[in-house]
């Protein structure tokens, strides 16, 4: 019987999952326990193992696609399966039945057309030819890029063990210098990970799902996106003056606008003239997004485990300062108390990270994929400045854009920053 793999429920609140990456392709042999895919849930990216031995006969959901829990995503042909049964298993009708959540255990039986001569679609695997390999050796083989097929195991029953992998890795000729840049991201958990024994006084902190997700996404971003930065100083005096006035007059209505609220609106409005800053690189094309959904980085308090999340303010280009302020405050509060739901964290098209409230002058941020730009704002610092050929005291803020050079060139970045700077220095444009 072919075994149908459905999108697993990997957390209590998980409604759907995204296949980040398939580790197997159709025709690959798998053994129970093999991690066949990485699945991103609302909380973290997790490894998805299979529980059967067989051959992946069909992959039904491509990497990058998001599907509800229970949706069939792949089929494993187990010993004795034939092509026809597999075809039945992948037909829409049976997919429909198993998509019902809670009623979709792996390995749901499907109608099986009798076939006198069971014939495997792929002859690469048979029970007798199963490769015996220790769990550690299997993992090391993946990490070192060693193929298990070529190794004769030295352990009992021909089991491939750690020393076999190390020997094979030593035998492998060092790879020729690649002519094409490898753009596959390094897995966050292996890149430069620390493996030495702990010294005296050292201790270990377990990596949370959130920290895993941060690590994976940022390693992916920094190692695949050609980042560069462009910075500009912004005269913040008019904005601070306006903000003081507005907050004083709107206090009875409970409105308290933050500097960041103005920045969100200034960036969102600037997109109309600079659509490539609200865009995503898609390999052979660039997606220009319609609405501007601004992600705001929110750091979490230690009692919630620390870390950070990006809260997303949907349609920021269509919202006034009052709404931006209220919604941002509500999202930050929710993030710090109850935690954000997936709907609060998805769909960002541009991101802002602001460390001004901590007194930071300037810094650079890592792009939040699939965005093509992120703005890092420092504090509006009171300092000697030159205005109209006069040395005076004023407030200036440094804004630093990190950009994906595949989408945005330096001159474009300068123009966008000019617009944002103009919006902030002439804050009436942000009001009406």
């Amino acid at each position: 019987m072919p075994v149908q793999i459905t999108m697993p429920r990997l957390s209590d609140t998980m409604q759907s999952g995204t296949i980040v990456r398939w580790n197997v392709k159709e025709g690959d042999s798998v053994a129970s326990g093999d991690v066949v895919a990485d699945v991103e849930t609302d909380k973290a990216t997790m490894e998805m193992p299979v529980y059967d031995d067989g051959v992946i006969s069909k992959i039904m959901v491509a990497a990058g696609q998001q599907v509800p829990v229970g949706t069939p995503i792949a089929i494993i042909a187990v010993d004795g399966d034939d092509g026809q049964a597999v075809a039945v298993a992948s037909s829409p009708a049976s997919a429909q039945t198993s998509a019902a959540p809670a009623a979709a255990p792996n390995g749901q039986p499907v109608p099986h057309a009798p076939q006198p001569q069971p014939q495997r679609a792929h002859a690469v695997d048979s029970p007798s030819a199963r490769v015996r390999v220790s769990p550690l050796a299997r993992r090391m083989a993946e990490e070192l890029g060693v193929s298990l097929d070529a190794i004769r195991g030295s352990g009992p029953g021909g089991r491939i063990v750690k020393q076999d992998i190390l020997a094979a890795a030593n035998r492998q000729p060092s790879a020729p210098a690649p002519t094409v840049l490898e753009t596959r991201p390094l897995p966050a958990e292996t890149a430069l990970a620390y493996h030495a024994p702990l010294g005296a006084g050292s201790s270990e902190v377990t990596v949370s799902g959130m920290r895993q997700a941060i690590a994976r996404r940022l390693v992916e971003s920094k190692s695949t996106i050609p980042h560069y930065q462009v910075a500009m100083r912004v005269n913040m005096d008019p904005l601070l003056e306006l903000r003081t006035m507005l907050n004083a007059q709107l206090e009875p209505q409970g409105v308290k606008l933050s500097v960041n609220d103005f920045i969100v609106r200034a960036c969102a409005l600037a997109m109309a003239a600079h659509p490539f800053f609200n865009a995503s690189w898609a390999g052979d094309r660039i997606i220009l997004h319609g609405d501007v959904n601004v992600g705001v980085a929110v750091s979490l308090p230690a009692e919630r485990g620390g870390g950070l999340v990006v809260a997303v303010l949907q349609h920021a280009n269509r919202k006034g300062l009052r709404d931006i302020s209220t919604e941002t405050r509500a999202l930050a509060e929710k993030a710090r108390t109850r935690g954000l739901g997936p709907e609060d964290m998805s769909g960002a098209t541009f991101t802002i990270s602001n460390l001004g409230m901590f007194g930071v002058d300037n810094f650079t941020a890592i792009i939040n994929p699939p965005n093509s730009a992120i703005l890092a704002c420092g504090a509006a610092v009171e300092q000697p400045v030159v205005r109209n050929h006069q040395l005076v005291v004023g407030h200036e803020m440094q804004a630093t854009l990190s950009l994906d050079h595949r989408v945005i060139d330096g001159a474009m970045a300068a123009e966008y920053l000019q617009t944002v700077k103009h919006n902030l220095e002439n804050p009436a444009t942000l009001l009406v």
Binding site: G33, S134, L136, G155, H195, P197
Partner: protein
């Protein structure tokens, strides 16, 4: 521990812990066969009768069931007795009080009565004492929920763990070894306690984690020295207590080394060693290059013959063999 050290015997460390706690808390008392007038069959309680008097250091008849039961009653009503079994082998006649009453008292009384009693004595082979007097009770007794089990391997741990045991509100089974009582070791001056459930890395290493407790820790360290000469770098974990068990320390270590050998002087069937193996197979499955290898006492009654007894018990050679096998070097 940065305090000044002095070298004392294991038995003195245990006595210091008991005496300090008896000075600190008048509810603490010691009872058992020959603990008072004779200063203890193994001289652990030397001088304690003189200092604390016959109301707190009590010689009992040769009746384990009777005095263990009496201690449990005293503990239920507010005292904190320490019961010395000359040997844990003799505690078997007190199985009903120590296994059927003490660990279940809090539960069965709905929280009305606790049972803060420490049972202590020699465990494991003493050296040609014959099968009935050579019990290693860790496998048999650690199976029971509600009790704590401490198995120190050295004087410093024995003192810090005994003080914690006396202050603990649950029945504590404190397993000493006749073979370790004369062992000398550095013990800090001044008061210190060692919490339960906190393993000690007796030796750090990269290639294989050896999990042990009590007397076999010494064989593990000797084996690690021998294996180092073969280029095998072992990490030795001294669990100190097996209930509670510091599972996190084991998992952390095995995830680094990818190999685990458990050395436990109880019989293998249903033992702390099998529990550790199950834990490691569950928590470290993807990190293992081989299944957990275990060294236990042989699955027979303890022999009397010297040579057979040495071969029956976990020993340095058997630990070396297990580590080599686990690392596919056999």
């Amino acid at each position: 521990m940065t305090a000044t050290m002095r070298e004392i015997e294991f038995r003195d460390a245990v006595r210091e812990a008991m005496s300090e706690e008896m000075r600190r808390d008048t509810r603490v008392m010691l009872l058992g066969e020959e603990v008072a007038q004779y200063n203890g069959a193994y001289k652990v309680s030397r001088g304690m009768l003189d200092e604390f008097g016959p109301r707190r250091v009590i010689d009992t008849p040769i009746s384990e069931s009777g005095f263990a039961g009496m201690a449990i009653g005293a503990a239920m009503l507010g005292l904190r007795p320490i019961v010395e079994f000359m040997s844990w082998s003799f505690s078997l006649v007190a199985a009903d009080p120590i296994l059927n009453n003490a660990p279940k008292m809090l539960y069965m009384s709905g929280g009305q009565y606790g049972c803060p009693v420490v049972f202590r004595g020699n465990d494991g082979a003493g050296g040609q004492l014959g099968s009935t007097h050579s019990w290693a009770v860790e496998g048999l007794f650690s199976n029971v929920p509600g009790l704590k089990m401490v198995i120190p391997s050295n004087p410093a741990d024995a003192k810090g763990l005994m003080k914690t045991a006396i202050r603990d509100d649950d029945p504590v089974f404190f397993l000493e070894s006749e073979r370790l009582l004369s062992l000398k070791g550095d013990v800090p001056e001044g008061e210190y306690l060692i919490p339960f459930g906190q393993a000690r890395i007796a030796r750090a290493g990269r290639d294989c984690t050896i999990v042990s407790f009590g007397r076999p820790v010494h064989f593990c360290l000797e084996a690690a020295d021998a294996l180092a000469r073969e280029g095998v770098d072992c990490e030795v974990l001294d669990m100190r207590t097996i209930r509670p068990l510091d599972a996190a320390a084991i998992v952390r270590s095995v995830r680094r080394t990818g190999a685990c050998v458990v050395v436990d002087q109880s019989w293998s069937f249903g033992s702390p060693g099998s529990e550790v193996a199950a834990l490691v197979h569950r928590e470290c499955f993807d990190d293992l290059d081989n299944h957990v290898h275990r060294v236990h006492s042989a699955d027979v009654p303890a022999p009397y013959s010297y040579d057979l007894e040495q071969e029956y018990l976990p020993n340095t050679r058997r630990v070396c063999e297990a580590v080599r096998a686990c690392l596919y070097r056999a």
